[in-house]
Symmetry: C2
Subunit: 358 residues, 2 copies
C-alpha cells in the first residue's frame, strides 16, 4: 500500500490527487493521453470542472439522455483553425458554434454535444483552460450540454497545439422539413447579416494587418435565431451557414442539389466597409470568405418579407437582407448582378483561398 | 461561362468533375480542406463512395434520422494511433470499433456514426482510401451507418497522416441500466477474452520485434456480443472495454466510482503465451496494456455462470473467464492474487506505458 494510493482517495464522485494540476505554468504531456491517472486528473480538474452537467458527471465512457420519439439530427465538425485565438473568439467557442449551427441549419433544436481533443505535447495548460472555458461559455449561451468527450495527446510536431472535433445532436420540431434539395425556383434568398467577417479577421491576423477598427470574427451560435425564424415561418425550404468557401460555395452546392439556378444582387449583399477594404487589400472576394455566425435562408417568396422581419427583430439578424432569387436553370448557375449593372457568374472556387479558417 | 463550369454538371445527386481523383498516386492537398470544389470531389469520390447510405447521401451538413422515444447514448473517440496500419487492423476499422464499443458498453444498440478527419498535407490518397474502405467494412460488420462527417487538412508537419474522430449514437433497450457506479460487493468480474493483444501488437511493430507467430490486434466491434449478453442477463451492472490503461485502469476507475474493492486472480486472467512473452521482453504488464476488442462485465454472482456460458457460445467471447470478485473496501483497492499465491495491489499507473495506442 503506497503513500500515493492512500492520498488518492475519493470523496463523493470526486477523485483526489496528491498534487493539483499546475494550470498556470503546466504543459500538456504525453502522459495526459495515456489512460492513466494523469489523464483522469486532466479530465477532472480541467474538463469536468468547466463543463459539469448531470450527463458528463456520470463519468461513463458514454452519455445517456432521454429523447422524444421523432427526427434526430447529428452533425460533426473538426476544428483546426490557426491561430487558435483571434479577434472575436477562439477555437473553443468556435468548436461549439460550428456544430450548434450545423445542427440548427436543419431547423433542429441542438441539445447535446461531444468533444474530442487532440492536443500537442507541450501545449500550455493555461491556454487549454482558456479554450475550455470559452467552450463552456459558448455551450451555456447556446443552451447545449457537452455530455461526453475524449482526449488524445500527440508528440511535439505531430499536431498543432489543439484540434477539437465536436459532434452535436438535435431534435427536429414537428412540421419542419428543410434540405439542400428542397429549394425551388421562385424562392427568395436571405442572408442574416454581413458577410466575410470571420475569414477576414483571421487573414488580417495572419498577415499582421491593422485597420482603423479591428475586424472581429462573427463566430456565434445561431440556434436562437433559427428557432425564432422557424416559429413564424416553419416552411423554410433550406438553411445553410456559409462557412468554408463562403456564400459562393453554399449557393453553388444548393443550386446543384436542388437543380436550380440563382440570381443574386451585389448591391443587396451586406459587407462591412472595413471588410470590403481588407478584402481588396488581401486580394480576397467576400463571397468566397468563411463566415461563422451567419446563415442563408431559402423560403417561398410570399413568406420572405415576414421572415426578414423576424430576422431583423433578432439581435443576431439585425442586418438581414434579401439578396436574390432562385430561378429555373438547367445549368444550375449562380449569377450576380454587379453594382455596375452587369451580370457575372459566381463560380465555385476550385482552389483554396483560406486554409485552416475553421 | 468557363469550360470547367460546363463539364462540372450534375447527374442525379452526383456531381461531375473534369478529372477524377488520382487515387493511386495522388496526395492530400491543402485545397482538399478548403470548402471548394476540390473538397467536394474528395468527399464524393472517396467518402460517399465508400460509406453510401440514405442519410449520408442526402449531402446536407447534418444527418437526420428517426429514433424511438427513450434513452439515447452518445460516445466519442479521437483516434491518433501510430502507426496507422498494424497487424489485425488500421486506424479506419479501429475508429469504428472504438466508438461502437463505447456505445455498446452502456448496453445500447449502436446505430449511427459521424466521422471527422484531420488529414496532413501530402498524405497518400491511396492510403486514405484503404483506411476509408476499412471503416466502411467495419461499419457494415457492426450494422451501423456513417451518416455525416467532416474533413480538414493541416499543413505538412502540423498533423501525422490521418486522425479520425468518430462519434456514435445508440438506443438503450428497455430494462437495461448499466453504469460505472452500479457495481456492488458480491458481483463477479468477467473478461470476454485474452488481454493485451492490441497494445502488444502495436508495440511489437514499433520496436520492430518479430515473434514466431505475429501478434495481432484484437480490434473488433463488440455490439453483437453485448446484445447476446443483455438478452440473457439484462441486469448486468456494468460493462467497460479496457482500452487505454488496460484492465488495471478499468478496474480502478470502476472501484472508485462504485466505492468498492476488487479481488482478481492472476491464474484466471487469460493472456496468450506469445503476448505474455512479448510483454516480458518489452517490459510491459499485460494488465496495463490496451485492448480494442475485449470487455469486462460486472454482474450479480448468481447470474455469472449463465452470462459466462452466453459469452463463450459467442465467437467474440470464446475465451471468456470469471477473473475475480467485487468486495467491500472503503479504500477501493484493486488487488490480485498472484500465480504464486501472494496478493499484490493492482495500482492505477500514473505514467504512460504506451503513447498513441488508439
Amino acid at each position: 500500500m503506497t503513500e500515493q494510493s492512500r492520498t488518492d482517495s475519493t470523496d463523493g464522485n470526486k477523485r483526489h490527487y496528491s498534487h493539483t494540476l499546475d494550470l498556470s505554468k503546466g504543459k500538456v504531456e504525453m502522459v495526459h493521453g495515456s489512460g492513466g491517472k494523469a489523464m483522469a486528473q486532466l479530465i477532472d480538474e480541467l474538463f469536468l470542472n468547466a463543463f459539469s452537467n448531470p450527463w458528463l458527471d456520470e463519468m461513463n465512457d458514454q452519455a445517456c439522455f432521454q429523447l422524444p420519439a421523432g427526427r434526430v439530427v447529428m452533425a460533426t465538425d473538426s476544428h483546426v483553425i490557426s491561430p487558435l485565438f483571434f479577434p472575436g473568439g477562439d477555437i473553443g467557442c468556435l468548436s461549439v458554434h460550428g456544430t450548434v449551427n450545423d445542427v440548427a441549419m436543419s431547423g433542429a433544436v441542438p441539445k447535446y454535444l461531444s468533444a474530442g481533443f487532440i492536443l500537442e505535447e507541450g501545449y500550455p495548460l493555461a491556454d487549454l483552460q482558456t479554450i475550455v472555458t470559452s467552450m463552456a461559455a459558448a455551450a451555456e449561451e447556446a443552451g447545449v450540454y457537452i455530455v461526453t468527450g475524449d482526449t488524445k495527446v500527440v508528440e511535439r510536431g505531430k499536431g498543432d497545439g489543439c484540434f477539437i472535433t465536436t459532434t452535436g445532436i438535435g431534435v427536429v420540431p414537428e412540421g419542419v422539413s428543410m434540405g439542400a434539395d428542397r429549394v425551388t425556383a421562385g424562392d427568395k434568398i436571405i442572408v442574416s447579416g454581413s458577410l466575410g467577417d470571420h475569414g477576414v479577421a483571421i487573414m488580417s491576423l495572419r498577415e499582421n494587418l491593422t485597420f482603423e477598427t479591428t475586424i472581429e470574427s462573427d463566430t456565434q451560435s445561431l440556434n436562437d435565431l433559427v428557432a425564432a425564424m422557424v416559429e413564424v415561418v416553419p416552411d423554410i425550404h433550406c438553411l445553410r451557414d456559409p462557412t468554408r468557401g463562403g456564400l459562393s460555395a453554399t449557393l453553388n452546392e444548393i443550386a446543384q442539389q436542388s437543380k436550380v439556378g440563382m440570381q443574386v444582387y451585389e448591391t443587396e449583399i451586406p459587407v462591412k466597409p472595413q471588410v470590403k477594404a481588407a478584402c481588396e487589400f488581401l486580394g480576397l472576394d467576400p463571397l468566397f470568405v468563411a463566415n461563422e455566425g451567419k446563415l442563408v435562408a431559402f423560403c417561398p417568396a410570399d413568406k420572405a418579407e415576414q421572415l426578414l422581419a423576424v430576422m431583423r427583430a433578432h439581435p443576431k439578424g439585425m442586418d438581414a437582407a434579401i439578396i436574390g432569387d432562385v430561378i429555373e436553370d438547367d445549368l444550375q448557375f449562380v449569377q450576380m448582378q454587379t453594382a455596375f449593372g452587369g451580370n457575372r457568374m459566381v463560380d465555385w472556387i476550385n482552389g483554396e483561398q483560406l486554409p485552416r479558417i475553421c
